[in-house]
Amino acid sequence: MTTLTYLALMLLLALSVYASGPWSLAISVIKTALVGYVFMELRYASRLLLLLGLGALFWVGLMYWLTLTDYWTR
């Protein structure tokens, strides 16, 4: 599983260089999900840990949302 994930990550890296622009950013999100789920063992995570992670994502998301709604609606 770990080695398979690594091969998938390298394949995605090649793809992101080829895709370039906004698509490469979408590929980064997929890569992050793979690293988190397999390498960081989130697949075995407790509910407490998932709550903590989602909390961090929520606050970062709030910061982006509040700032970007301002910039995108000018």
């Binding site: 690594y6 390298m10 890296l13 690293v35 982006y64």
Partner: protein, 164 residues
């Protein structure tokens, strides 16, 4: 288990730190898309790709070290991390003259600089582990290293692959 949860809390604060920097980058890029594309095109995509490959491979060997409880697997991780810093150092050296060439290179130096400091801390932790210290905390150090990898996964397209 408790130390792992503690590391996740720390990683949450790291997400805030780099999240704010990436947000500043986004706002900068929205107000000057042409300048960011121009700056990005001066970077070598091949060197950025090489560095991404080095970090992804080091994350893989760290994950294997945790999974198989083999501390020596940190040796390739350490070497790959040093290779990453060597490439980064070469890049910094060749772009140093661009330091005052506008906001893109400000972001380039601040973000890769802060990330490189994180890499150095990780390599120090690997060295301590290999020397027989912190042995119980291998999984915690691994979590930290994977986050350093993830930050670079986002830095790579943001700095090297800005479409024109």
């Amino acid at each position: 288990m408790v130390s792992r949860l503690g590391m996740w809390v720390f990683l949450g604060s790291e997400m805030m730190l780099f999240g704010a920097l990436f947000l500043a980058y986004t706002v900068g890029r929205l107000s000057d898309p042409a300048g960011f594309a121009l700056g990005s095109h001066q970077l070598e995509v091949s060197l950025g790709t090489l560095n991404t490959a080095l970090l992804l491979t080091s994350s893989w060997t760290v994950a294997l070290a945790v999974e198989r409880r083999r501390r020596w697997l940190l040796v390739p991780s350490l070497l790959l991390g040093l290779g990453f810093l060597a490439v980064k150092g070469y890049e910094w050296h060749s772009h140093w003259s661009h330091l005052h060439d506008g906001i893109f290179f400000w972001f380039y130096f601040v973000m890769t600089g802060l990330h490189a400091v994180h890499v150095m801390v990780g390599l120090l932790a690997f060295t301590l582990l290999l020397a027989g210290f912190l042995v119980e905390e291998l999984a915690v150090v691994a979590l930290y290293w994977h986050l350093v990898d993830i930050i670079w996964i986002f830095l790579f397209p943001c700095l090297y692959l800005v479409g024109s």
